[in-house]
């Protein structure tokens, strides 16, 4: 068949657009009717053809309206972005059909059929999500097994933290560094003391009772703050001219990169105490923090090393020729540039770290995902795994997305090249 008769020219442009649009519209109607009302307007055709009709209508319609330089801005835009070839037209249709078919049921599950009211599992109809579960357990998801009456301590600790972080963005430049030093070196100790208690008339809360989202934050924050400098030192060590330092760094990095985190955590809980003299006891949470920190530091070291290697030799030479020694050269010239280069890699490692925290369940510490796991096995709330994990997944996604956006902003802000 000669398809050239199916190509529009100036005269019959509008006819083509109209016929094409109608065909696409029929295709859409067909798919909408069949997915929402279970009616098939093409039922008179054989099964297989009837199944494909929306696609065929759509494809032919899109083919007809694929007119170059039609003069219609909207049409040109659609054609260049979604309809530039038969294959692209097919992809466009498939995506649209998939959205029509799957988005509404998803929305129904999440919102329209979901249950929000009530306090027990029986209040849920079972058609959609049972958010009652999340509502009832929210306190545990956030605070773990931390005693209800003491939860103000966690709130205070985190509120202060957020206020300080917020303040560090808005105060004048010259006070900024004091806030940051305070945040990095002093505040972690104050915060931990406030949450663990034991002195100043605060009731002692053992770390086994810590949990939920607050534990996720505590573990992530400490590991993030600590793994960064350790990783940087390791990266420098790996490039050192002194064999002792170089081989120690290489050995350390390769050892930690070579084992799964879950094994490391297990060893920190089970084997590490065996090497300690009798009577000494290191808190489980501290052991886990050290394990995660060293594990992530090994990855961080390799990320930073990538940045160090990407810098031209001339930067080192210029610094040396100005009389800078090793440390001045690295802290003033090399690291500021190398770290800026590897912000995406650092963000990657940080995100991985946050998402690795659920693994601390192997030593009996239950952060957000761990608490969900615990709650779903409660006899009164059996069968709520889906709601729990979707909730945990969303929370993790929000945390990670915020971190990712922040790293992108940082990248833009620090960009000094043309």
């Amino acid at each position: 068949m000669n398809l050239s008769i199916l190509k529009a020219d100036k005269k019959n442009l509008n006819t083509f657009i109209t016929i094409g649009s109608v065909l696409i519209f029929i295709g859409l109607i067909d798919i909408i009717l069949s997915s929402f009302l279970s009616t098939n307007i093409t039922a008179f055709l054989p099964d297989k053809i009837s199944y494909l009709t929306p696609l065929l209508f759509g494809l032919f319609g899109l083919y007809l309206i694929r007119i170059e330089f039609s003069g219609n801005k909207l049409l040109d835009k659609v054609n260049t972005n979604f309809n530039s070839s038969n294959f692209n037209a097919l992809l466009t249709l498939l995506v649209i059909f998939a959205l029509i078919k799957y988005i509404p049921p998803l929305l129904n599950w999440f919102v329209f059929d979901a249950n929000f009211a009530g306090n027990t599992k029986e209040d849920c109809t079972g058609d959609g999500a049972c958010w009652v579960f999340v509502k009832v357990w929210l306190n545990r998801f956030v605070y773990g097994l931390y005693p209800d009456t003491e939860q103000w301590r966690i709130n205070t600790a985190f509120l202060t933290l957020f206020l300080l972080v917020g303040a560090s963005f808005f105060v004048p430049q010259r006070y900024k560094k004091y806030i940051i030093i305070f945040l990095l070196f002093v505040y972690p100790i104050i915060g931990l003391k406030l949450i663990s208690g034991g002195d100043f008339g605060l009731k002692y809360v053992e770390t086994g009772a810590w949990g939920g989202l607050s534990l996720t934050f505590i573990v992530s924050a400490f590991a993030l703050i600590l793994c960064f400098p350790i990783g940087t030192i390791l990266a420098l060590g790996r490039r050192s001219k002194l064999p002792a330092i170089r081989y120690t760094s290489i050995g350390f990095i390769e050892l930690w990169r070579g084992v799964p985190l879950i094994t490391v955590l297990f060893m920190s809980a089970v084997m590490f105490p065996m090497f300690l003299p009798d009577g000494t006891y290191v808190d489980k949470l501290i052991r886990v923090l050290i394990a995660i920190t060293l594990f992530e530091a090994a990855y961080m070291a390799e990320v930073v090393r990538g940045g160090l290697q990407a810098l031209p030799k001339g930067q080192y030479e210029a610094a040396k020729s100005l009389g800078m020694g090793y440390w001045k050269m690295h802290f003033l010239i090399i690291l500021p540039q190398a770290l800026k280069l590897v912000i995406p890699g650092i963000a990657n490692t940080f995100l991985a770290l946050v998402k690795d925290t659920p693994l601390i369940f192997v030593v009996g510490l239950l952060e957000l995902a761990g608490m969900v796991n615990l709650a779903k096995t409660n006899p009164k709330w059996l069968g709520m795994a889906m709601e729990g994990y979707v909730f945990a997944g969303l929370v993790f996604w929000v945390i990670c997305y915020v971190m990712s956006r922040y790293s992108q902003n940082l990248e833009k802000k620090l960009k000094t090249e043309r």
Binding site: P312, G314, Q315, E317, A318, A319, K320, S321, L322, G323, M324, G325, K328, L332, I333, P336, Q337, K340, L414, T416, E417, R418
Partner: protein
């Protein structure tokens, strides 16, 4: 005039390749020396050995009365007295031009920030680029960058300046502005060792010329003699090709 740099029988190898062969050289205070020669002849290596960006394996290098070797403890102090300008500028791209200039005085010489900034502005003015002080290196032209690099080196108030092909990476029309700044510096009495192919510049400022080939100093002569009646055939050939 007193000697400030002295090289005695310096040899240097990159693995098996010998880059410098028995180099003997004396530089007096305020002397200007231009080193030329074909590529790969060891000119850059020679001046990079003077502030130990390259290590020599044999012989002695004495800078301002101190020998430079692997045992030198205060290498940083010697380097602080020897300024260097590179072919590729090597400005620090994460710092503004002003910060490029003040960084080393503040951190290496422990100069108060105010004094360092005043000094930096003085030197930036000297190379006629003071109006660009707040910009970042990436926003400047090649010639402006190289003049900034010169100002940065001058901020350490060095006794000696080394130039490693300072104009080779520049567009032709920017070469002059850099050479002008270097001529001014020479007239102010700086001790300079310059590796360059700019023979016009050499004729104008150099006291002595050195021609190097295959790691050896083939000819060292007063500038006038060097250009008017070179002794070695190799020098004659080289000059006939570039003049």
């Amino acid at each position: 005039m007193s000697k400030i740099i002295e090289l005695k029988n310096v040899n240097k190898w990159f693995d098996k390749f010998q880059a410098l062969k028995d180099i003997n050289l004396e530089v007096n205070q305020q002397e200007k020396i231009v080193i030329c020669g074909p590529s790969g002849s060891g000119k850059s290596t020679l001046i990079r050995c003077i502030n130990r960006l390259e290590e020599h394996q044999d012989g002695q290098i004495i800078v301002d009365g101190k020998e430079i070797s692997e045992n030198t403890k205060d290498l940083e102090k010697i380097r602080a007295e020897v300024g260097m300008v590179f072919q590729q500028f090597n400005l620090f791209p994460h710092l503004s031009i002003l910060d490029n200039c003040t960084l080393a005085p503040i951190w290496v010489k422990k100069m108060p920030k105010k004094d360092a900034e005043a000094l930096a502005m003085k030197n930036l003015e000297r190379v006629q680029i003071a109006d660009q002080a707040k910009k970042f290196p990436g926003q400047l032209s090649g010639g402006q960058q190289q003049r900034s690099a010169l100002a940065r080196a001058l901020c350490m108030e060095p006794k000696i300046m080394l130039f490693d092909e300072p104009t080779s990476a520049l567009d032709p029309e920017m070469i002059k502005e850099v050479l002008d700044a270097m001529v001014d510096l020479a007239k102010a009495g700086m001790t300079m060792i310059v590796v360059t192919h700019e023979m016009g510049f050499a004729k104008e400022v150099a006291d002595n010329m050195i021609f190097m080939d295959e790691g050896k100093i083939v000819e060292k002569a007063k500038t006038k003699d060097f250009f008017e009646n070179p002794k070695s055939d190799r020098t004659k050939l080289f000059l006939s090709q570039i003049l």
